[in-house]
Symmetry: C2
Subunit: 211 residues, 2 copies
């Protein structure tokens, strides 16, 4: 089975060392495929080459494991997407950068962890609040960009909130269908996605549609 996730940087499991981050990485991969509830500690242990009991040397519990994976995913999002985009003053360039970097992250398998972000109901109320706030911040970052484009008269006559959701929907869906060993290269998908997103949201043709 294909690896959905390829974490280049190990998850820093609270400073517990290499083996620990290995367990986190394995867990993230399996949970992305089978969902949180569908993944047993046994599944994780087996894939990590340990027994169910052995795994508790590295983690405190299943829910906490999920929370740490989600936290890592959000950190990754901030570093790879938000931070570089924030440097760009022009909202159109910023939007383009967001679409490009988020799409690329998912195509490369890095950050495919974002699907784990759908497992909100499995979190404790406290943890859920933390992740919810971080997701909200990212959402608002994109919406803010679209609102700037709106006041510049560049956005289509669409609601910025609706636009943000539609954009995130089409991007996040990538982790559900894209296979790195399939027919479509990451480069062509990336190009098409930017094309579709920019033209779907902004007025006038802004991408020189050449192939």
């Amino acid at each position: 089975m294909q690896r959905l996730i390829k974490l280049k940087e190990p998850i820093p499991a609270s400073g517990k060392g290499k083996r620990a981050s290995h367990v986190y990485r394995i867990a993230a991969e399996i949970m992305c495929q089978k969902g949180y509830e569908g993944t047993s500690m046994n599944d994780i242990a087996e894939a990590a080459g340990l027994t169910k009991a052995g795994i508790y040397h590295y983690i405190r519990g299943k829910e906490e494991l999920l929370f740490e994976i989600m936290t890592y995913a959000m950190d990754n999002l901030d570093q790879r997407i938000v931070a570089p985009a924030q440097e760009l003053a022009d909202p159109e360039k910023r939007l383009r950068a967001i679409v490009e970097s988020h799409t690329r992250s998912l195509l490369e398998g890095v950050g495919a962890i974002t699907i784990v972000l759908e497992e909100m109901p499995a979190l404790t109320p406290t943890h859920r609040r933390v992740i919810k706030a971080r997701k909200r911040t990212y959402f608002d970052f994109i919406r803010q960009t679209l609102q700037e484009l709106e006041s510049e008269g560049k956005l289509r006559d669409i609601n910025p909130t609706t636009a943000t959701f539609s954009l995130l929907g089409m991007i996040l869906w990538i982790s559900r269908w894209y296979r790195r060993d399939g027919k479509l290269s990451a480069e062509e998908v990336l190009k098409d996605y930017v094309d579709i997103a920019i033209n779907g949201l902004l007025k006038m043709d802004r991408v020189s549609s050449k192939r």
Copy 2:
């Protein structure tokens, strides 16, 4: 908690009568909220006003229940979206009809069952093959439409397969964020979605962007 699903026609539970379809409907609602693995037979029984044991009078097992819900969801998709769209010879009108009816289905909560279509790993291999084939047929119906638009020179210079996935992503995501009791009316979201989809996929501005 909000009802994600509103089944107007009861699920035809293999000709077992009214009460049976009630159980199926309840089960579909809960599974849409908590996922297949996160839903216990007890949850379903309680919501249906029965005991866990009592429910087995109507169903053969949990997996079979899921399979029947999925089958109903696909039937619904065929009747509400594919059948009407197939009448349209012009691919642009057909695309518009597909986007409109699929988006509307999700906004209304009818057919929100489509999220259950994500529970593929929970199915037995045989059942999974059946649903997979039906999903594939729907996907191909949309891609075929985009290919016709491509040969008419109306599609952007994008891969029709990638375009289909991006369209489905933004549409299916609706069931994750849209709340009927929220600020956005179904009508405005629908209008925006058609606008974004058509302009994202087709060359030139085709929607008179007025508000």
